[in-house]
C-alpha cells in the first residue's frame, strides 16, 4: 500500500500537471528528449476498373487474363528516428511497402533519408548523407527540382526517396526590402554503388540554390552541373498578391537535352536540343474557405502528341503481333522503351492542374472534400479525382479517393490501363 502511495506521488510529481479550469497541460509533453522515434502505418486497398482496349493495358496484360477489374492491397510502414547531441543530429526515415496484387505478394524497404546534420550556428547547417531537397515552388510539378526524383502529381505531398549528398545552408538576414539571403551548395557523387539511378556514373556533380526574400517575394536561382546530367539552370518565385491570393512560377533551362523516341514501327530516334520548362500557378482562398490551386506546366523535355501516338501505335502493333503470331518481341521492346522514358509521370508537353478543396463544409470540423483535374492540354485527355478526407480522430487520417480517366484513343489518359480506380487510405501516426 505504501509503495502504491509512493508510486502515485511520484507519478503526480513527475507529470506536474498544469491545471487551468477544466483544461490540463502535461509538462512531460514539452520536455525535449535527445531522441525521437515516430512514423506512420498505412493500409490502402485499391480497386481498379480496367480499360481492355487501352495500349497500356495491352502492354501490361498482353499475356495474362485478369478480368475487367483488379484489387490491390497496400500497406506501408514509415519509420522516422532522430538522435540529437550538441550541434550534431542523426536523422533516418525508412519506408516499407507491402503489396498484395494479381502478381502475388511483394515487400520492399527503402531508406528515404539518413543523414548527419551539423548546426554550428543558426546561420549554418551542414548535412551529410541521404536526403531529399524538394526544390521548386510548384505544387504538382517542379521543373527546377534538379536533385530530386520526379514527383507524382497525383500525390504531390507524398514523401520521397532522397539521394546521397553533402549540402550546406548558409543564411543571412537583413532589414529593409531584402530580408533574407540563403545559399545552399550541394555535392552529389554518382558512382556504381551510390546514386547510380541519378544519371551517368563516375561523376561528382554540383548543385546550388541561392534564395532571396525580396520585397515579400520568395526568389530562388538554381544551377546543376557535373556530368551525370547535362548542365541546367533554374529560377522560381512565390508571392502573395493579396493575403488570400498567391502566385508562383518556375523556369528551367536544360542544355543539350537528349530525347529518345520511336516511330509507329518501333524505329528509334534521338534528338538533342536545349529544353525550356516552365510552370506558372496560383493558390486562391475564398471567403468561404474554398482553396483553388491552378497550375500550367510546360514540359520542354516531354513528347509531342504525335510522338505519343507513335508510341501507343507501336504497342498496339506489338500486341497484335503477339496475338497473331505468339511472338512477344515487339511488345517487349515497347516495355523496355516505357521504363524511365514514356512511362514517366506526365511524359508529354502541356498540362493543366486544378485542385479545388472546401475546408470543413456544413460546420463539419476536420472534413475536407476536394477534387483534382489533371488535363493534358494538347490532346484534351484528363483524369478527375474526387476525394474526401477526415482528420477528426487524433493521429488518424482517413481518405476515400477515386480517379476517373477520360480521353480519345491514342491520347495520354485515353490509353491508361484503367478507366477508373477507387481507394481507401487509413493512416495512423505514432
Amino acid at each position: 500500500m505504501k509503495r502504491l502511495f509512493l508510486a502515485l506521488l511520484f507519478i503526480i510529481g513527475f507529470t506536474a500537471l498544469v491545471r487551468a479550469e477544466e483544461y490540463t497541460f502535461d509538462i512531460s509533453e514539452i520536455e525535449k528528449k535527445p531522441y525521437h522515434i515516430g512514423g506512420y502505418a498505412e493500409f490502402k486497398p485499391v480497386f481498379f476498373g480496367l480499360d481492355k482496349k487501352a495500349s497500356l493495358f495491352k502492354l501490361k496484360f498482353y499475356n495474362r487474363d485478369e478480368g475487367a477489374t483488379l484489387e490491390e492491397y497496400n500497406s506501408t510502414l514509415q519509420l522516422e528516428g532522430s538522435l540529437q547531441k550538441g550541434i550534431a543530429g542523426l536523422f533516418i526515415k525508412t519506408n516499407t511497402d507491402y503489396k498484395k496484387s494479381y502478381l502475388g505478394e511483394d515487400q520492399q524497404t527503402t531508406i528515404y533519408d539518413g543523414f548527419l546534420s551539423l548546426k554550428p550556428s543558426s546561420s549554418l547547417t551542414i548535412d551529410l548523407g541521404k536526403k531529399t531537397l524538394k526544390w521548386g515552388k510548384g505544387y504538382a510539378w517542379n521543373p527546377t527540382a534538379f536533385v530530386d526524383r520526379p514527383k507524382d502529381p497525383d500525390e504531390p505531398e507524398q514523401s520521397m526517396e532522397g539521394f546521397i549528398l553533402a549540402s550546406a545552408d548558409y543564411i543571412k538576414s537583413f532589414d529593409g526590402a531584402l530580408k533574407t539571403v540563403s545559399f545552399t551548395p550541394v555535392l552529389i557523387p554518382v558512382y556504381n554503388h551510390m546514386n547510380n539511378t541519378f544519371g551517368d556514373i563516375n561523376k561528382l556533380n554540383f548543385a546550388g540554390k541561392l534564395y532571396f526574400l525580396f520585397y515579400d517575394t520568395d526568389i530562388d536561382f538554381i544551377i546543376f552541373t557535373g556530368g551525370s546530367k547535362t548542365t541546367r539552370y533554374g529560377a522560381d518565385f512565390s508571392r502573395n498578391i493579396t493575403p488570400n491570393f498567391e502566385i508562383h512560377g518556375e523556369f528551367s533551362f536544360i542544355n543539350d537535352y537528349k530525347k529518345k523516341f520511336i516511330d509507329g514501327n518501333g524505329n528509334s530516334f534521338e534528338k538533342e536540343y536545349d529544353a525550356k520548362n516552365y510552370l506558372i500557378g496560383i493558390r486562391y482562398l475564398t471567403e468561404k474557405d474554398t482553396t483553388y490551386i491552378f497550375e500550367y506546366y510546360r514540359n520542354g523535355t516531354g513528347f509531342s502528341s504525335g510522338e505519343m501516338r507513335d508510341y501507343f501505335s507501336f504497342i498496339n502493333k506489338g500486341y497484335d503481333s503477339y496475338i497473331s503470331t505468339g511472338s512477344a518481341t515487339l511488345i517487349k521492346k515497347a516495355l523496355t522503351l516505357t521504363e524511365g522514358n514514356y512511362g514517366k509521370p506526365n511524359p508529354t508537353r502541356d498540362y493543366i492542374y486544378l485542385r479545388v478543396s472546401q475546408k470543413e463544409p456544413f460546420d463539419m470540423l476536420y472534413f475536407t472534400p476536394s477534387a483534382t483535374v489533371i488535363l493534358n492540354a494538347a490532346d484534351k485527355s484528363f483524369s478527375l479525382s474526387p476525394e474526401l478526407s477526415y482528420t477528426g480522430i487524433t493521429n488518424l487520417e482517413l481518405r476515400v479517393k477515386a480517379a476517373f480517366i477520360s480521353g480519345e484513343r491514342l491520347t495520354e489518359y485515353g490509353e491508361k490501363q484503367n478507366d477508373y480506380r477507387t481507394e481507401l487510405r487509413a493512416r495512423y501516426y505514432f
Binding site: S123, G136, S159, T242, P243, K359, E360, L396
Partner: protein
Amino acid sequence: MLKIIGFILTLIIAMPVYAIDGAALLKQVDRNLSPESYESYRKLINIEPDGRKKEFTLFTAKKGMDKVASLFLAPASEKGRSTLRLGDNMWLYIPNVGKPVRITSLQSVVGGVFNNADILQLDYAAEYNVEKVEEKGNEYLLYLKAKTKTVAYDRLKVWADKGKKLPTKIECLTEANMLIKTLYFKDIKDFGGGIVRPAVIETDSPLYKGYKSVMIFAGIKERKFKDEVFTLTFMPNLESLR
C-alpha cells in the same frame, strides 16, 4: 469673467491628466501579455459540440514586431510541422512535403476557430491603430482599426482590465462590424520573470456554432533569437531552438 477663464484654465491643465492615450495603453497591454521577444509553450484544444477534443502542442519563438515561428510538438500526426510569419508573409512547412508553402492569415493549420493569425499573433499595436477608448466601470474598451487590408480582422474591440492592463475579452469584427469571433482571456497566472498574464484564451464564433477552441500557455519567458531563425531555410530546424 475671471471665474470662467479660471474654469477653462483648470480644464486645460486637468485634461491631459485624465485623457487616455490609446496607443500607449495598447502598447502596455501588448507588453503585459508578453515581452517583445520570447519563447512559449502552448496547447490548442478544439472542442466539438458533442464534447470531442483534439489537442495540438506548440513551441513558439517571437522576435520584435514582426517575426514569429511555431513548431508543432504533438500530436504525432502534426509533429515537426512549423509555421513562420514575417510581417504579412506566412509559410507552413510539412516534413513530408519537404518545403515551405505560403499560407494566409485567414486559413487555419489546426482547423477549428483559431486561424493562423491567432496562432502566429503579433503585437496588437503592430497591426492596429486605436480609434477611441471608452471607460466601462473597471475596464477600458479600446476600438481598434487595422493599419492595412492584409490584417486578418479589420476591427477589434478590446476590453482591458484598468488595473492590470490586460485584456479580458476581444471581439474580432469585419469592416462592416460583423462579429467573426470572440476571445475570452482567463486564469491570470505568474509565469516568472515578471510575466503575469492570462494562461487561458477561449474563443467561440458565430461562424462555428457550438464549437469552441482554447489556447493554454504552459510557459512563456523572455528570450533573444537571431534573425536567421525566422527564415524559410531554418524552418525544418526549429526543433534545435528548444
